[in-house]
Assembly symmetry: C2
C-alpha cells in the first residue's frame, strides 16, 4: 500500500451499550418529569422492567447521579432528585459567565455564513413559535446558542455548558411554551447586537435572556412545590 495515503483513523467507539440505552431511557423520563422528583428507583426493579441485568442499570444510575438527576443513598434507596433553585441559579451563573465571554468575542465579527446560519435558526424558531411546536422550539434554542459558540471558534465551550445544564433542563421542559415569545425576541436582540458588533449590548441581551430561568423557577415552584427542594 502506498504510504502516500495514510487513510483515516477509524474510531472504534460505535456500539451503544445496554448501559447507554438504560441511561438514555431514564434520562428522558426524568427530564420529562415522567419520573417526578422523589420517585424511588430500585436497580433490581428497573432491571426487571427493562429486561436487562442489574449491572448496566447500576452504571446508568451512577451516571445520572453525576448529573444531579438521581440521589443514590447506599443501602437505602435511589430517588429522583428534587429541583434545587439554588443549583439552577448556580448553573446559570456558570453558564452566563462563559457565554457572555463568547458573545463578546462573537461581537468582534462573525463570518457571513455563520450569521446566515444563525439567521436561519432564528427564522425556523419563529416558525416553531407560531406553529406552537414546543419541542422543536427548544431544540432550536439550543442550536442557536451552540452555533454562536462554534462561530466564535469556541465550540468546546458548548460541551461544558451542556453539562452544567442538566439542572436547568427539567425547568426548561416544565416551562414549555411559557416565555417562548420572549425567548425568541431575546435571541433576535442578541444576534442584532452581534451583527452590529455591539459587545456590551450583546452581553446585556444575553444576561437578560438567561436571567429568565430564575423567574420561571419561581413561577413553577409556586405551582409544584413538591418538585423543588426547600433550601433557604
Amino acid at each position: 500500500m502506498a504510504p502516500s495515503d495514510p487513510l483515516t483513523q477509524i474510531d472504534p467507539v460505535v456500539r451503544p451499550t445496554i448501559a447507554d440505552q438504560v441511561f438514555d431511557a431514564l434520562y428522558a423520563r426524568v427530564l420529562s418529569l415522567d419520573l417526578p422528583p422523589l420517585t424511588k428507583l430500585s436497580e433490581a426493579e428497573v432491571a426487571r422492567q427493562m429486561g436487562v441485568s442489574r449491572q448496566p442499570v447500576r452504571d446508568a444510575f451512577y451516571r445520572l447521579s453525576k448529573l444531579g438527576f438521581l440521589i443514590i443513598q447506599p443501602q437505602r434507596a435511589t430517588t429522583v432528585s428534587q429541583i434545587s433553585a439554588r443549583d439552577v441559579s448556580r448553573a446559570r451563573f456558570i453558564r452566563s459567565t462563559i457565554e457572555i465571554r463568547i458573545v463578546r468575542r462573537a461581537s468582534g465579527g462573525l463570518a457571513d455564513d455563520d450569521i446566515a446560519a444563525l439567521e436561519r435558526i432564528l427564522s425556523d424558531q419563529l416558525g416553531a413559535l407560531e406553529a406552537d411546536e414546543r419541542a422543536r422550539f427548544h431544540r432550536l434554542d439550543d442550536a442557536f446558542h451552540q452555533r454562536i459558540c462554534e462561530a466564535a471558534d469556541l465550540g468546546f465551550a458548548w460541551d461544558v455548558i451542556r453539562e452544567t445544564r442538566a439542572h436547568t433542563d427539567r425547568v426548561r421542559y416544565l416551562s414549555l411554551g411559557t416565555g417562548s415569545r420572549r425567548a425568541y425576541e431575546d435571541h433576535r436582540r442578541i444576534l442584532d447586537s452581534i451583527i452590529a458588533r455591539d459587545a456590551d449590548g450583546a452581553e446585556r441581551a444575553l444576561d437578560d435572556h438567561l436571567a429568565q430561568i430564575d423567574k420561571i423557577v419561581a413561577g413553577l415552584r409556586a405551582r409544584n412545590p413538591t418538585w423543588f427542594s426547600e433550601e433557604e
Copy 2:
C-alpha cells in the same frame, strides 16, 4: 426531648466505598505520572493487585475516564490518557473566564477576615517557597484561589473549576518547582489589586497568572513528547 432543638440532619454519606479508595489510589498515581500516559490498565489486573473484585475497579475507571485521565476502549484496552495541550488550553479558558468574574466581584470589597485569611495563605506560601516544599506550595496555591471564591460568596464555583482542572493537574504536578516564585508574585499582585478594589488590575493579574500554564506545557512537551498527544 425539647422540640426547641431540632438537632442536626445527619448526612448518610460517610462511608468511603471500596470504589472510592480505588479511585483515589489510581487518581494519585495518574496525577503523579507514576502511571504515565499510554500505560495500559486492565480492570482484572488492577482488581487482582488491589485485592478487590472488578466491580469497584470498574466504577473507578469510569469516573477517571470522565475526568479525562483514562480512555476506555471496550473489548480493547483502557489506557492512561495523554496530556492534550488543546484540552489544557480549553480548560484554562473556562477557568479563567469563571475566575475573572470572581476576582472582579471580590474587587468590589472583601470582609476584613477574608483578606486576613488570604494574607495568611500568601505568607504561608512564601514560607513553602523558601523551604522548597513543593507539594505544600501547590496545596496553598489551590487554597488561595478557593478562598477568593468563598470570599466572593461563590464557593460553588471552585467545585466547577476543580472539575475542569483535571487536565491541567498533571502539568502542574510535572512543573513542580518551576515558576513557583512567579506564581507567588502573581498571587501577591492579585490580592493587592483586590484590596485596592482595582477590578481591571486584578483581572489582568489573574489572566497573566493562569496564562503561565500554556508556557509550562510547551516547555514540558519539548522534554517529554510521548506524554503529550499530538494534535495539529
